[in-house]
Symmetry: C2
Subunit: 250 residues, 2 copies
Amino acid sequence: MKGSLKIAGLGPGSDSLVTPEVTMALANATDIVGYIPYVARIPERSGLTLHASDNRVEVIRARQALELAANGKRVVVVSSGDPGVFAMAAAVFETLEKGPKEWLSLEIQVLPGITAMLAAAARVGAPLGHDFCVINLSDNLKPWSLIERRLRLAAEADFVMAFYNPRSNSRPTGFERTLKILCNTCQDTRPVIFARAVSTPEENIRVVTLPDATPDMADMRTVVIIGSSQTRIIAHKISPIVYTPRSAPI
Amino acid sequence: MKGSLKIAGLGPGSDSLVTPEVTMALANATDIVGYIPYVARIPERSGLTLHASDNRVEVIRARQALELAANGKRVVVVSSGDPGVFAMAAAVFETLEKGPKEWLSLEIQVLPGITAMLAAAARVGAPLGHDFCVINLSDNLKPWSLIERRLRLAAEADFVMAFYNPRSNSRPTGFERTLKILCNTCQDTRPVIFARAVSTPEENIRVVTLPDATPDMADMRTVVIIGSSQTRIIAHKISPIVYTPRSAPI
């Protein structure tokens, strides 16, 4: 039996957001590889080995998955959200490129998932209804100066912006600097959406305008979406609706 | 019985990419509203009325859906991909904001879906593994000058770029101009992915480098992804793998 490797997106948290394609891959797997909280979502069953590992060991995890597949296993690497958006897929291909040539004959497939910004956007309306950009605010693997440059150019382009990994205990200041840059370059009316742990029991959504956004509103489980100059808020008795119109003025 | 309106994403084409949440909403609906080819994906059943309408009548369609919901129906507006990304959700909220106040008491929910760029990216590897932007290349609802400005700023920011609606019969020249701008601002090595009708029987994927990309490679069913300066191609006997590393050099 030839081994295979699927890199699958589990979506933001709820099983109702897992695609049938991913569910079937999990059912046919012999080995599941991933970060502890994601592997914890997979029910144990006979014939299935769960390999949970800690955060920040993406390359070690990728190598483990490729080696298991090379040994004939049907491996599924699980990611939260979509595996291709700031998740495990890039780490697997980085490791594949540097690894032994035999790995290139493995059957490798990426199975898309609902990435956090799509679930967050859906909860508040349609803030991503017009051109947008997506930035990973973690400077673990890139210089902070590059993030700042992208923020300024994105503001100049009047993109809606979605931020992943806005803030963690080891990176407490980057998001504060991000908010300062945006306050200095964008109008006060811009909506800011803090969407934490969407579709899980811990879900929490806040909508404020830019001057009222504070760093403590975000953590590692939060996706932040900043509206463009055109993004609108509709007042609503339960919770405000935020959307970006399809059209832009001349 | 109180009416409700769900705006649901059907994903790029295959039923294996439709979330259980959307499948359940469709099963409980009394009325389905949407563009002809998307409504055609919904099987007929007793108790369900299908309302298919043509392209470019998004606001009329949104009003129809809101009116049906206001009359007590359980309405699902179907979009391809994700409803919040260049699809029906923004049109519904634009119409809601301009409509009668009673509409604000309707239960309205957006159900996310696998948007085309995620499915396209998954097919070739992980081109969206680093910061990226997403631009609708149609100038039906915004000036072309704004699109050009965003392209230049996105190139300056070294974003990976995903383009929706790159080219249609009524807009034959915009994508040609896009390629010219990118050829003048980006290195020749940048990979360009043309992903047409992903996950349908008509699926077609091409990977070229920027100087070899030609306008006729795209149509309205194509998503185009342009790599950043860091995006890499791994040669492969079946089809090349394209990914953008998580890290960026200092």
